[in-house]
């Protein structure tokens, strides 16, 4: 089922993360955590998967003397997201 859809993006948490990154230039890890209400460990795993696929860029910095992770989407990630959305449209509106 839904074979055309990128399996990496066709998951609730990963799709939420990539959608947030499409909407913004840079997003902090803590913001993703508060928006998705998911466990930090689970988010970290999904971020690693997206990073390994080259969809997102992860920057490790410091903020107020605490480690801070900043995420941004790559060009490859944008392309993957666009093709995911256009394939998704085919399922909702098969005639188009």
């Amino acid at each position: 089922m839904y074979t055309d859809l990128d399996p990496l993006l066709h998951s609730q948490l990963r799709l939420a993360i990539i959608s947030m990154l499409v909407a913004s230039d840079k997003v902090e890890f803590t913001h993703i955590q508060s928006e998705t209400k998911a466990a930090a460990g689970n988010i970290s795993i999904q971020i690693k998967n997206l990073e390994d696929a080259g969809y997102i860029k992860v920057e490790k910095t410091f903020k107020n003397n605490y480690p801070n992770t900043i995420l941004s989407i790559t060009d490859q990630g944008i392309k993957a997201f666009e093709s995911y959305v256009s394939n998704l449209k085919k399922y909702i509106n098969p005639r188009k």
Partner: protein, 205 residues
């Protein structure tokens, strides 16, 4: 939160929520508009006072043959106020970035727009001094472009109106001369920066 068998509708719902949850942080923009609104209003008033003093009889006698100093006093006044503004801005931006968790495309665009605008102000000042024309005409026009664009991008009407008022004040400044030009600039800044700044501060995110 993890589910791998999503329906297309559920997928669209997730995308929709993630994108629509993004909120414009009006408060951050308000702080910067209020800072420059107050700094430049005070600079205009101080400019008016300097010009008033220089136009007095006593000053006429003291300044005889040294009228080039008048331009330097005015330029010095604006430079001092702008320097104070940039120092406060530096600490303000540091504090804003400390609390910031999302850096939107709009934030980035507005930041670039105002840095280019600041550079344009400096270039316009040089052009005005070289060509011996009153700076407010160009300054208000540049401020109008940046303010209207910011208002349109963040979809905030008071800022769009403030920007348009800058354009009107820019034309009006060609009809006013002497020290009253400084007051007109002050009025333009109150209408273009300060009032929209307070509207921004009161706006809900």
């Amino acid at each position: 939160m993890e589910k791998n068998s999503l329906t297309p509708e559920e997928s669209f719902d997730i995308i929709n929520k993630a994108i629509s949850n993004f909120k414009m942080n009006y408060k951050e923009n308000a702080q910067v508009f209020l800072l420059w609104g107050w700094i430049l209003t005070l600079a205009s008033i101080s400019n008016f006072i300097i010009l008033k003093i220089l136009s007095s009889w006593e000053a006429h006698e003291l300044m005889a043959g040294k009228w080039e100093l008048k331009g330097l006093y005015i330029l010095g006044n604006w430079v001092v106020f702008c320097l104070i503004g940039f120092i406060i801005l530096y600490f303000m931006v540091r504090k804003i970035n400390k609390d910031k968790k999302v850096y939107s495309h709009i934030d980035k665009f507005i930041e670039y727009l105002w840095w280019v605008t600041a550079a344009s102000f400096v270039i316009a000042t040089i052009i005005c001094f070289r060509m011996r024309i009153e700076p407010p005409v160009l300054m208000l026009l540049i401020a109008g472009i940046a303010t209207t664009t910011t208002g349109l991008v963040i979809k905030f009407k008071p800022l769009i109106i403030g920007g348009i008022l800058f354009f009107i004040f820019s034309i009006a400044s060609t009809f006013v001369t002497n020290e009253y030009l400084a007051l007109l600039v002050g009025a333009a800044i109150i209408c273009g920066y300060l009032i929209p700044g307070y509207f921004l501060k009161a706006a809900k995110e």
